[in-house]
Symmetry: C2
Subunit: 184 residues, 2 copies
């Protein structure tokens, strides 16, 4: 294991923080580690039907460009992750889902962040509002699942949670693990 | 887009940094963003033959436990990403690879990090040293590819780059995009 010796500094944003620690490695040597302390997050692959999903276009400050992704967001304090998935889907797309199916949970950046993302498939969608969270989302798009696969394999979609959400949905579908009535 | 108004603080580790910025959103409102400024990284799915890969067990400070992952690491200043993939494989497993095949490039944590990971498949492995980087790696393991798939689908492997590396290798293999002589 690695043991913290001391913390040199911390940056606090509204919902998470970053800190710089000196740690003792398993060999006894020391090094510095940046660690992001992040709440859990939920991401949703929202199915309009068995062939089309909703995606959002949004500006990503960290990489300085717009991307096409599945809806996602941080869990609020005290909020259940499923609740968060329903809420983020609604805020980012204007659609309400009838049901969620848990697909996968994973650590996106295990080298420096404790963030865990839980990915769900959603179905039984109906539109509630024609507006989305204007601070974050520039456009909601309907994309064929086969097209999303192509965009991933061509390297045009490069957002980790989107790649994992689609890949794991397809793997589970191939194994017969998506319930038959999921798209009813 | 989102525009930086000012930086409130920066943490510097040896190879990357974290900073806290106030930014103006597309609506004109302002918010705070933590951004990790990270070099590119390389990850490798190292094939001993067409059915077995090498994996490494290592302690992950950010999540406080040991994990089973594919070898990976940050690109050194001025280093080419392929060179880094060969080097990290050798440092972490003691094996040298004859060839690399680029599988996929993606952003693991697009919400707060500019890190891009390039994932390769490696083959033509031969052992050079029975020792690994003792600071980071506690054990090298030989795992059947089918077993890795099971561990992912059971939720036991939860490291994003490992999930994406295996999923994209299998997707490309299904589409006939892995050259026939790759395992020779």
């Amino acid at each position: 294991m690695e043991e913290k010796i001391r913390t040199h500094g911390v940056l606090f944003a509204k919902h998470f923080s970053a800190r710089l620690d000196t740690v003792r490695l398993r060999t006894g040597r020391t090094t510095e580690r940046i660690k992001i302390d992040h709440p859990e997050a939920a991401a949703v692959v929202p199915f309009l039907d068995d062939k089309r999903i909703l995606m959002v276009r949004q500006w990503r400050y960290a990489i300085g460009r717009e991307t096409l992704e599945i809806p996602a967001g941080k869990v609020d304090p005290g909020e259940e992750t499923e609740r968060c998935a329903f809420r983020e889907l609604q805020e980012e797309t204007g659609y309400k889902a009838e049901r969620l199916l848990q697909l996968f949970s994973y650590y996106p950046a295990i080298g420096y962040s404790n963030e865990m993302i839980r990915i769900y498939a959603a179905s039984g969608l109906r539109i509630l509002a024609a507006e989305q969270d204007a601070d974050e989302i520039s456009r909601v798009e309907v994309v064929a699942l086969s097209r999303v696969q192509e965009l991933i394999l061509q390297g045009i979609i490069g957002d980790g949670k989107t790649v994992i959400g689609i890949s794991l949905f397809l793997a589970k579908q191939q194994r017969g693990e998506i319930p038959r009535d999921f798209f009813d």
